[in-house]
Symmetry: D2
């Protein structure tokens, strides 16, 4: 099994910027490994909202995270301006596999690369559901190879 | 005792913008009362860093929060772009009383107004200390009568 | 105006214990001022759930925080076992004023004392509402002087 | 590649209990995928502290997370009492691969199983370092084949 490698910016079709917060730093002065996942949640749900017509307050079909992971290559510390590169590595009828790469402003190599799978669920009946069409359409633009 | 009132933008001499995050929303779909305090920390420490020469990793004299509070006038929900208005209502030799007003982009009335007192401490001896001169100089520009 | 003082345990009619978490510590090695408010939320909502029949997932009448505050007397650091002392200083028809005192296991003086006002709201119409009877009954037992 | 499966309690040589907090729930009423990682951090660092002589405030050799991941099998919601099962799947000279399984009180199947690799670093020189002997000794007791 090959060792994970940082992702270059050219591998990502879409970016959001995100500013770190004071509370992101832990006792060792780096952004804590946990908060990276909150950045991923923020970026991907923002994409659903801004490009896929997703309204978290009223949506009945939503994405639940069924697995997640992250490789950390180099630390970042607050205060920092980050770019989050988004890409989709697989889209099924009812699930989407995301990757989110974390770049320090100006860097070309990701400091960390995260991934997670959203399985879509109809909250009214708590059952698996097809990805809503506007989300599918928006997300398909981020699908790589 | 008079009921607290929202603060107009004109009351604040300085602003930072801040984007909400997915995790800021609670089960009721509003940004949770707790996270406002993390926004205050982020804004005020950023001011120390960018204007007062503060380096959190190496600083020996730092501000500890000895009291804090917030009045919430109207909710905000993720996703939102916020403006945080900063002002200082009192500066002693060893402490600073801050106010931070939370505005939704475009609003003139604060959705919430927070306040906290930073008492400066020399971490090496865990004792009260004078505010470092570069912070004092930077913060004095935000002092309101 | 008198300086705030720690609260002795005898001032609190009810206690919950709470274990700190790794992420509660900030870059200075103390539990960050922000996380105290998440402890208060946890304790008070737990009291509503366990003693007032409150179900956060289905409740239509819920408490929104309209103001909050905290005085910090001495730091606590993870790992620590805390006792949270609960008391109610005022209960109106539609609002409750809470105090939550933070004790290190074995201490008699609070390390911090927080307070917040819950205003009850009917989420269906987003309007002020009477405190539900089972919550009123449970909370009245914590009312001091 | 086989689909990940919940871990039975018998697979874990050690457990800590952990109470959820109000802020762990997200807008959908379940504990958010992100906070599971804060539980893992809390449990594993607690083990280092209580069994491996680790003092986060003074330690010069500390574990940095270089990769992490989690499979989510079934949700948990606040309020809940959780048991976190700890085990070590690999220990090298300078790194430890942890697994942490999340059980609802009374359940035998993990609701989620997380994993992460701690690489030990000497903070004074920011270089890779051997696992301190007391941590190595304590952690070896949790090593599973």
């Amino acid at each position: 099994m090959s060792r994970p490698q940082p992702l270059p910016r050219s591998a990502c079709p879409f970016f959001y910027s995100l500013a770190t917060r004071w509370a992101d730093n832990d006792i060792f002065g780096h952004c804590n490994n946990v908060v990276y996942y909150s950045w991923f949640d923020t970026a991907v749900n923002r994409y659903y909202i801004e490009h896929g017509g997703f309204d978290p307050a009223s949506a009945t079909i939503v994405g639940y995270v069924v697995s997640s992971g992250c490789d950390y290559f180099a630390p970042v510390s607050h205060p920092a301006e980050l770019d989050l590169g988004l890409r989709v590595t697989r889209m099924g009828a009812r699930s989407i596999a995301w990757e989110v790469a974390v770049y320090l402003s100006g860097d070309d190599s990701s400091r960390a690369t995260g991934r997670f799978v959203h399985a879509f669920v109809d909250r009214r009946v708590d059952q698996s559901a097809d990805i809503p069409a506007p989300i599918r359409e928006a997300v398909s633009r981020l699908l790589v190879e």
